[in-house]
């Protein structure tokens, strides 16, 4: 190559590399806080299978709803309920027919202290604690489910003064993990991490005490033409993803 061609040649080579990276796309994903752990495990597997990479934002589902309505650049939403994706479709912010259940959530009552929570949840009625952490029931489906459990046990009014509310289930977990709240309602996936010992004690709450936490994914309008976003939803429906999701304690 003549010398005068060297610089443009290098430029072309760079552009060609960029083009390849662009074909192996990127997806902006809004992930419900309870699913952050499994999604971090699923990300590398998705990249290995498809070449696409994920950019994850973790938060409360209700908050994502408000942000998406305000024009947030998310392309896929992995919600903690099935209502929010339906609403987004109705509001024209998500693509109709793309919502499906990727996981059924499991609620647990957890304490960082071993032996603090019994396997019947009698600790709730005994009330020997100062603070019970939940996710904000207005924006986090797991928080709403926690309130259903308290009502089913007839404890909602008695325990109301002891409730501390995290803005998402991740903050509820953090209140319990630091010991500032003796116990709290969190997702099973936050407590029983595959391959790691469980810290403290927990009660896996019978599904009869709360409405099923059907977690739906949906393709958002922003990502409608992004091949990587479409690939992510297809891949989440597959067997590889299903196995991992079940290993993290979710139904399917």
């Amino acid at each position: 190559m003549p010398r005068w061609l060297a610089a443009p040649g290098a430029l072309l080579l760079t552009l060609a590399t960029l083009a390849v990276t662009a074909r192996a796309g990127e997806v902006q994903v809004a992930v419900a806080a309870n699913f952050a752990g499994p999604m971090n495990a699923l990300g590398p597997a998705f990249t290995a299978a498809t070449g696409h990479t994920l950019k994850l934002s973790v938060g409360a589902t209700g908050k994502f709803h408000a942000q998406i309505a305000a024009g947030a650049p998310f392309e896929v939403l992995l919600a903690a309920d099935d209502e929010t994706p339906k609403k987004l479709v109705a509001e024209g912010l998500a693509v109709a027919g793309t919502n499906f259940s990727y996981a059924i959530g499991t609620l647990v009552l957890w304490s960082a202290q071993p032996g603090f929570v019994d396997d019947q949840g009698a600790v709730l009625a005994a009330g020997q604690f100062e603070h019970l952490a939940i996710a904000n029931p207005k924006v986090a489906p797991y928080g709403a489910a926690a309130m259903q459990v308290l009502r089913a046990r007839g404890l909602a009014d008695i325990l109301a003064p002891k409730l501390v509310t995290g803005e998402s289930i991740a903050q509820a977990q953090q209140f319990v993990a630091t010991g500032n709240a003796e116990l709290g309602f969190v997702a099973l996936s936050q407590v029983a991490v595959p391959g790691k010992p469980v810290i403290g004690s927990y009660w896996r709450i019978p599904p009869s005490l709360y409405g099923e936490i059907r977690q739906d994914a949906v393709l958002l309008k922003v990502g409608e033409t992004n091949a990587a976003a479409i690939a992510l939803l297809a891949w989440l429906k597959g067997d590889a993803a299903k196995a991992t999701i079940q290993a993290w304690g979710y139904g399917r």
């Binding site: 408000a66 924006v139 500032n180």
Partner: protein
């Protein structure tokens, strides 16, 4: 406005008022000391007071949550004293606000004290005014504009505090749900009308407070 929102208004006013009073009690001697000291460590003390200006509220909130928790030094001390634990309590918010709003009170006071001419204090000394007398009869009256600025900024900044309260408050109605958290709550839940009522009120409050402050502190010659 709902009863919950009025509760947030009342709580925020109480928190800001109590914080301001405590900060004036703690901050005045601190600012006086900083203004008068010839110690080689003065930059260090001044830097420690100014830290909350630079640190993100998340950093302060994170360390307070650990320190005031059951395994933290402060948490163990308050439990040993029979005071319980500070996170999720009004007292905890007061402690956090005092730390967080410290520079807004100490710095204006320190500047006011530093502006007092040395000879005013010396003249008082030759008239046999003792150290306490010089402070209360000469320094404090001369520092009046600084005192006003410190009080107003301390109060207003505590009203505007958000990140620390969010991290250690637990969003409990009438105890730790301040105005800023209530606004965040409404926005998160897409209750924009409720959010507007509180948010617009806070914009108006901030403007009125700052205009009054700047008007009151205009140099006398220009009035």
């Amino acid at each position: 406005m709902t009863a919950g929102d009025w509760g947030a208004v009342r709580l925020t006013a109480e928190l800001a008022a109590l914080t301001t009073v405590l900060l004036l009690l703690v901050g005045t001697p601190l600012a006086w000391g900083l203004a008068r000291t010839r110690s080689a460590f003065k930059p260090l003390w001044a830097a420690l007071v100014a830290m909350p200006l630079v640190l993100p509220p998340t950093v302060i909130g994170f360390y307070l949550l650990l320190l005031m928790g059951p395994h933290g030094a402060v948490g163990q001390a308050t439990q040993w004293l029979g005071l319980g634990r500070l996170p999720f309590s009004f007292a905890g918010l007061v402690v956090a606000s005092v730390l967080y709003s410290m520079p807004f009170v100490v710095q204006p006071l320190q500047q006011a004290f530093e502006a007092i001419p040395e000879n005013a204090l010396e003249a008082a000394a030759t008239l046999r005014a003792g150290a306490w007398d010089r402070f209360f009869s000469v320094a404090l009256p001369l520092a009046r504009p600084g005192l006003l600025t410190a009080s107003v900024l301390g109060f207003a900044h505590t009203v505007g505090e958000f990140g620390v309260v969010l991290m250690i408050g637990g969003n409990i109605p009438d105890r730790t749900r301040t105005l800023s958290v209530a606004v965040y709550d409404h926005v998160e839940a897409a209750e924009f009308a409720e959010a507007h009522r509180l948010a617009a009120g806070m914009v108006a409050f901030a403007l009125v407070v700052l205009v009054s402050l700047y008007a009151a502190n205009r140099p006398a010659a220009k009035r």
